[in-house]
């Protein structure tokens, strides 16, 4: 019994909740045999903020700031999903300008989110320089957002029936300026990190999620596409007029090592940023005239009904299940989080690897604890 624990056979190692590479407060209980991980048990709940209970006590527009705080790295996309769900519940149609602005902001936010994910991933692996490069670029996106709506991280921008602010004068030119200088940075990342031999050795043969595993665990977003399945809600179930934009869905190709490795997931994000740039360019080109406050209802009071709506956030499929009892306050708000499902896959892919590989896997699935615990 106890004596065996001292025998050096197997050791329980607690990683986290304050480990810098766990992207928040995730505790991993590792059962290690020397350097080999025999079992991983993720413990969640350290960042539980009662989002769903809060949402049952405030009116519909008041939930939006709380949505922003779920996935605080991509809050534009989080509030977009909620706003779309409430609009669906009310049967509200928004005008073209609002739709285009939402696409524009969602894609800018996707770039910012992927930059953070790539930057911190590189830092987890042990390469510090790409982190600084990514954060420098991300800062420019955040500056654009601050100019747009006044906040850098928690925007409260997508409202029910519209957006909070129209774009300020000169925003379009500034965004184009950002895009022209950002495009070479993606190519720079290839040289700096993607094809770096040390980085390849650490990621290319590690944390392989096979197609079957990904589908059976409901993995979504770049993690699913890293396994070679071209599933993107922007293509499959278009919202906000995504069907009218031209873009590709990048999938993992297994160029280095087997398909579905950490490197594939990482590289899908890099190529998604390129696609996002294309989407932003198209959105800027077409930006129709209109009043962004035109369809904002004075009082949000949906009829007694329920709705499930899902959108593609940078981390995958984010679903909102809303139940209305005809009052001013939602009866129930349930969130389907993309990070939660992918975290459930962690024990399956991390078993048998090294302790250092756990870091590489967690970084590559890009989880945000705020969204898992809500």
């Amino acid at each position: 019994m106890q004596v065996e624990a001292y025998a050096g056979e197997e050791m329980v190692l607690n990683m986290g909740p304050q480990h810098p590479s766990t992207h928040g407060v995730l505790r991993l209980e590792l059962e290690t045999d020397g350097e080999i991980v025999r079992n991983v048990i993720p413990h969640i709940g350290y960042l539980h903020r009662c989002f769903e209970k809060h949402a049952e006590n405030i009116d519909y527009p008041g939930v939006i700031p709380f949505c922003d705080r779920m996935d605080y790295i991509a809050s534009m996309n989080n509030s977009l999903g909620y706003a779309l769900a409430v609009e669906k519940l009310m049967g509200l149609e928004v005008n073209e300008r609002v739709k285009t602005l939402r696409v524009l902001m969602a894609e800018l936010n996707r770039i910012a989110s992927h930059l953070l994910s790539i930057g911190t991933y590189a830092m987890d692996i042990g390469s510090f320089t790409p982190f600084l490069h990514c954060f420098r670029e991300r800062e420019k996106v955040l500056d654009l957002f601050e100019w747009l709506c006044g906040a850098r991280l928690l925007y409260n921008y997508n409202w029910v029936g519209g957006v909070s602010h129209d774009i300020p004068e000169g925003f379009e030119a500034k965004t184009r300026e950002f895009m022209t200088q950002f495009e070479p940075v993606i190519a720079e990342m290839d040289k700096l990190l993607s094809y770096n031999k040390i980085f390849l050795e650490r990621t290319a043969d590690v944390g392989i999620i096979s197609e079957e595993q990904a589908l059976s665990h409901n993995v979504t977003g770049p993690n699913l596409r890293g396994s070679g399945i071209a599933w993107d809600l922007r293509k499959e179930e278009p919202y906000c007029g995504y069907e009218t934009y031209e873009f590709e869905v990048p999938v993992g190709l297994g160029e280095h090592g087997p398909l579905g490795s950490c490197w594939d997931r990482y590289y899908v994000r890099i190529r998604e940023m390129e696609q996002s740039l294309g989407l932003i360019r198209q959105a800027l080109d077409r930006l129709p005239e209109g009043d962004v406050h035109e369809h904002i209802p004075r009082r949000v009071r949906p009829a007694k009904s329920e709705v499930y709506d899902r959108t593609e956030t940078p981390r995958g499929e984010l679903g909102y299940y809303l139940v209305s009892d005809g009052g001013l306050i939602p009866f129930r708000v349930k969130v389907k989080s993309p990070c939660f499902t992918v975290l459930s896959l962690l024990p399956a892919i991390a078993k048998g690897g090294m302790v250092a590989d756990i870091i590489a896997i967690i970084g590559s699935i890009d989880i945000v604890m705020g969204e898992i615990d809500r």
């Binding site: 405030i58 527009p61 008041g62 939930v63 939006i64 700031p65 709380f66 922003d68 705080r69 320089t129 420098r136 800062e139 601050e146 100019w147 747009l148 709506c149 006044g150 906040a151 928690l154 409260n156 909070s164 602010h165 300020p168 720079e188 040289k191 700096l192 990190l193 094809y195 770096n196 031999k197 040390i198 050795e201």
Partner: protein, 164 residues
């Protein structure tokens, strides 16, 4: 054996390629800012400290209802009809005396939902961001200037014991 040396060579070569990019950055302009001596110019929409121009406040309480974290506390009382009429800056007659308008900035989530419904636009978020304080209670901003004049309402009589 051959692969072993090839790996070493590739590692060094790719690292050198990265070093080249890093090295070139020696000749670019710095993008950091020496903060306390130099400061960012924030855009006018920046959502930082809340400010209420109490002279224009009509005491409608819409901000209190809009706040998702309930950090605005407001008490109003009716103005006497004999008192001279006063108006907000945009001409709205002020019929209520705001005797308490407190914002607990430590609870504020900076969502800006309170400023939109304000009919006289007296509640705004300012781009001022340096407002750290030593004690938490200093975050309670008291904007109201008027003292309550009406006699306080009599307290509700306590329920008799055993009553439902």
């Amino acid at each position: 054996m051959k692969r072993y040396f090839k790996d070493i060579f590739q590692s060094i070569w790719t690292v050198l390629q990265g070093m080249k990019i890093t090295g070139l950055h020696l000749f670019t302009r710095s993008c950091t800012l020496q903060y306390p001596s130099v400061k960012w110019e924030l855009p006018e929409r920046s959502r930082m400290r809340l400010f209420n121009k109490i002279e224009d406040c009509i005491g409608c309480g819409q901000c209190v209802r809009a706040c998702p974290v309930d950090c605005i506390y407001m008490t109003t009382e009716k103005r006497n009809k004999e008192e001279p009429p006063i108006f907000a800056a945009d001409g709205t007659p002020i019929k209520l005396r705001v005797t308490q308008f407190d914002i607990d900035m430590s609870l504020c989530c900076y969502c800006n939902l309170c400023t939109y419904p304000c009919p006289t636009h007296c509640l705004v978020m300012t781009p001022e961001y340096e407002f750290a304080v030593q004690a938490k209670q200093d975050f309670l901003y008291r904007f109201a200037k008027d003292e309550p004049q009406a006699p306080p309402k009599p307290a509700p009589s306590p329920r008799p014991a055993g009553a439902r």
